[in-house]
């Protein structure tokens, strides 16, 4: 007589020794490797995007007449890429054969070091970006005249007593310095925000995994 699926199920498991649970070891092994690989991929893509973006912008800046801005951006971004590429060399040295806890802790330490270096750099590169923008537009030619010169002439005409340093209104120099100082202080925060947008999900997951692993070890 043909067996019903219910009896196949019952008898099958009665006779079977297949209900042996696998050993719970290295619970986070695959997870940590996947997470770190994902971060590495994102980091690499991010660096390539910066290189391509800075080269593209360099070309465009020459085409639209703001080459100083393009060069400033390109040089600043190149320094960022070089520093991060050097940092990523030590990331590749992290030993995967270590226990998953030590592997992920080593990665976490690397992330912390990377974030701290980039946060310090951000205090300098955001003011530099701004300075490059100002210089770029200052030397931009509009209707056959340099934009900076046109602004200076306009200010001299309307405010004859205005102070000048090397032909540039003192007011503008002070405003630019003030803005650069402000960006120096805000650079770290802007970087934190940028970090959260790009790597927020991965870093949150990393903290969760470490917290779980530490609880599991205790």
């Amino acid at each position: 007589m043909e067996k019903s699926i219910e009896s196949i199920w019952k008898q099958g498991f009665l006779n079977s020794n297949a209900l042996v649970a696998p050993k719970l070891n290295n619970l986070y092994n695959q997870k940590s490797i996947h997470l770190i690989d994902k971060f590495k991929r994102m980091f690499k893509i991010n660096l390539y995007a910066i290189i391509v973006g800075s080269l593209l912008f360099l070309g465009i800046s020459f085409l639209i007449g703001i080459p100083i801005m393009g060069i400033g951006f390109f040089l600043t971004l190149t320094v960022i890429v070089i520093v991060n590429m050097r940092l990523s060399r030590s990331l590749n040295k992290i030993d995967k054969s270590e226990s998953s806890y030590h592997y992920i802790k080593a990665f976490d330490n690397w992330v912390k070091q990377q974030v701290s270096v980039n946060r310090i750099m951000a205090s300098f590169y955001y003011p530099l970006f701004f300075f490059s923008m100002v210089l770029g537009f200052w030397h931009y030619h509009f209707n056959g005249k340099q934009l900076g010169e046109a602004i200076t002439n306009y200010m001299i005409l309307h405010y004859p007593g205005i102070g000048l340093i090397y032909g540039v209104p003192l007011f503008i120099i002070l405003s630019v310095i003030l803005m650069m100082v402000l960006l120096y202080y805000l650079g770290g925060r802007i970087y934190n925000w940028d970090l959260k947008v790009v790597y927020g999900g991965v870093l949150r997951k990393l903290d969760e995994i470490i917290a779980d692993m530490e609880e599991l070890r205790s």
């Binding site: 196949i8 099958g12 498991f13 079977s16 696998p22 719970l24 779980d212």
Partner: protein, 163 residues
Amino acid sequence: MSNDFYAISIEPYSAIIIKICRAYTNSQEDFEDYYQEVCLQIWRTRNNFRGQSEWSTWVYRLALNVSLTMLKKMKNNSKYFTSEYLPSGLTENSQTFSDEALNHLYDAIKRLSEVDRGVILLYLEEKSYKEIAEITGTNPNNIGVRIKRIKERLKKILDGKVN
């Protein structure tokens, strides 16, 4: 995870976790990944259990949800080539159990839709319609009809009437 927690809260239900994970995987490696992930999720969410249902219901639900999520994740991520993409006959796991009829039944179950697999596993574990509906998040009024339909399909697959 303490040994106590595993021994008291997971081990008594390991059979159903194994049965569920087997229904969503085609290789020993995937099966072990799923099993570990289910145990981990049970441990991680243990404080969310409010006692409104049986602990076993909680475990069933988690085992199903984790299996479905992992299946979805693996399908979405083409980087991970898993046994799910292979016909069950080509994978090591098609002869998981010593009982040949059970192997055939599992192969047939794996050909059902993801939710239907969960429904029939719970039915075979003699869960009530209400519990099945609660665990799978389906309408309790339709469970009986749904199970009847799934059983008919399983029978057709086992009889070789469905390719």
